[in-house]
Symmetry: C2
DNA sequence: CGAATACTGATCCATAAGGCTAACTATCAC
DNA sequence: GTGATAGTTAGCCTTATGGATCAGTATTCG
């Protein structure tokens, strides 16, 4: 499953923006509406919405609309992907390269080449 | 220190590319030369070098040149920044919002607005 | 010295990212 | 039903990214 790599692409890129990290930090304390979330940022709403979409598209948050208000909540599962990657990395340089972890490392190398490839 | 946020920007972005993650995975198993690292990738060397520069520029790897060979090695310190961010995030949604952690969360929100601001 | 090796530098190019404005749709509150 | 509120859609613009090529420099080998 090559999706794992693309999933990481998305998650890491989502985290590579301060606005998005701030949103996650805020949502970590509980759900909030779009305009509520947007308030602290000096940014037009549509611009801000792009960040929300990006976060949702990459599974970092969930949203649902009730009436005219869309409420956002953090989605913790994707964070696990980051931790998993970190663990694998740690395992590598800590010499704990048991069969499984070595396989993952190799798979990552191979996948990276394959990426621009087909379909 | 607003640098923390920019540091995270860089680190996360470095990790948001499969080529770069694969390089890190490989370097996790020990140092290697540029052309050695580049071999698995179907990519021109100068293109590959950009990834190396990016990784080095963001502190994920270190390099030194001996003769005509540049050797790359992983630089573990930056990974700690990722783990720190993850912990803070975890702390937030786990309700363990002691004063320090809440401060960090708030600071992140504020910093995000400030970012495009001055200079 | 001359040739091969191992990068490096300088462009160039197409696409994606992140921001904006303007206009539009759907609630909700009178 | 009018008006405010809360999002949304649809462009447009500028810069950053990830790739390529082509030529250049510095070592090392014979």
């Amino acid at each position: 499953m090559d999706q794992y790599s693309q999933q990481l692409d998305g998650v890491f890129q989502a985290l590579a923006d301060p606005t998005r990290r701030a949103v996650l930090a805020r949502l970590g304390q509980g759900p909030a509406s779009i305009s509520d979330l947007a308030k602290p940022f000096d940014m037009a709403l549509p611009s801000f919405m792009k960040h929300i979409h990006f976060l949702e598209g990459n599974g970092l948050i969930q949203t649902r609309k009730e009436g005219r208000v869309r409420t956002c909540a953090i989605e913790k599962k994707q964070f696990a992907a980051v931790e998993a990657w970190l663990s694998t990395q740690r395992a590598l340089w800590e010499g704990r390269t048991d069969r499984l972890e070595q396989f993952v490392a190799k798979a990552q190398t191979i996948r990276a080449q394959t990426k621009g490839g087909s379909t």
